[in-house]
């Protein structure tokens, strides 16, 4: 009994691998800091996005009679993004389109990086919390910039007794944003790791492609869309309170 349990535990720990691995150790002012798989995957994604951006710029700027297919695709993507941001934010979308586009590209590339055997950086709570904190700063900046003192006054909204509740609800925004993204991507990563780690070898051909389509492509795209949409909704909400 005890032997079989021990075998099961060791098998599970050996084969099921969705942990963040520490690759390289750095001594940072006396504290141990690690370069993890998250950093490496984030760097790979950065390089991919930058290479794509440079290729898009070159193909769009090239002078020719008929634009190439790639340039047409880039223009289509940009116009889709434009209508997406302007549809959610109205006229104010012009200022935020750069940020929203970058955010969307990064989140969707990291969500679908599970397809290519990387560990998605968004399955690390550090990454999602940082993105959500950037969005939080942006939301609060929009509130203070466009409502001036109304931003502080709205914390005391119905009566002053509601101050702690309003403060908590403000700070719940980045937490719920980051946990939503993290939970979805982490669930997909854990499910794929369990599937690949626990089942015998003849299950690993063909069937996982359907799981990959759901967990990596569909769920990742939905979560990237929702993250950007919620950021835009919150910012637009803060900007348009007085009318």
């Amino acid at each position: 009994m005890a032997g079989s349990v021990a075998i099961g535990v060791s098998l599970a720990q050996k084969d099921v691998d969705f942990y963040i691995h520490e690759l390289y150790e750095i001594n940072f002012f006396g504290a141990k800091v690690y370069i993890t798989t998250t950093h490496v995957c984030t760097l790979i994604i950065f390089i991919t996005i930058i290479a794509l951006a440079i290729a898009a710029r070159r193909s769009v700027l090239k002078k020719r009679d008929v634009p190439s297919k790639f340039a047409t695709g880039v223009e289509l993507a940009i116009s889709t993004l434009d209508s997406f941001v302007h549809g959610a934010m109205g006229k104010a979308g012009k200022k935020y389109i750069n940020y929203i586009g970058t955010l969307f590209l990064f989140v969707i590339f990291s969500n679908i990086s599970g397809l290519f055997g990387l560990r998605p950086p968004t399955a690390d709570y550090g990454t999602t919390l940082c993105i959500a904190l950037v969005s939080f700063v942006m939301i609060q900046y929009a509130a203070i910039r466009y409502q001036k003192w109304g931003a502080f006054k709205s914390l005391f909204e119905p009566i002053f007794l509601f101050f702690p509740i309003n403060v908590i609800s403000e700070f719940a925004t980045p937490i719920s944003l980051s946990l939503r993204l993290f939970g979805n991507v982490m669930a997909g990563t854990v499910m794929m790791a369990l599937y690949y780690g626990m089942l015998p070898i003849f299950f690993k051909f063909g069937i996982p492609s359907a799981l990959h389509v759901y967990f990596d492509l569909f769920s990742g795209a939905i979560q990237a869309y929702v993250f950007c949409m919620l950021t835009m909704t919150f910012v637009a909400d803060k900007r348009n309170v007085e009318g």
Binding site: Y19, S176, L179, R180, F182, G183, N184, M186, A187, V190, I222, Q223, Y225, V226, M229, L230
Partner: protein
Amino acid sequence: MNEVHVEGLVSACSAIGAGIAVCSGIGPGIGQGIAAGYGASAVGRNPGAKGDIMSTMLLGQAVAETTGLYGLVVALLLMFVKPFGK
């Protein structure tokens, strides 16, 4: 079954707790189903507005999913980080 080790007891209770925590998926399941049902009926009534209805429905479903994901995160912490087992 002579004696119960503390580590074994803690992992067993963590596994039970993780199972209970994942029960938080019931609520978002019901909520997402309701949203999808109303979305389908809205598309049936007004097929022209399918794009808007789809995006609104997906946004609402994703927000409703959050509480279920909190339970999932708690379950993952209990199973793999083991905060009580040293």
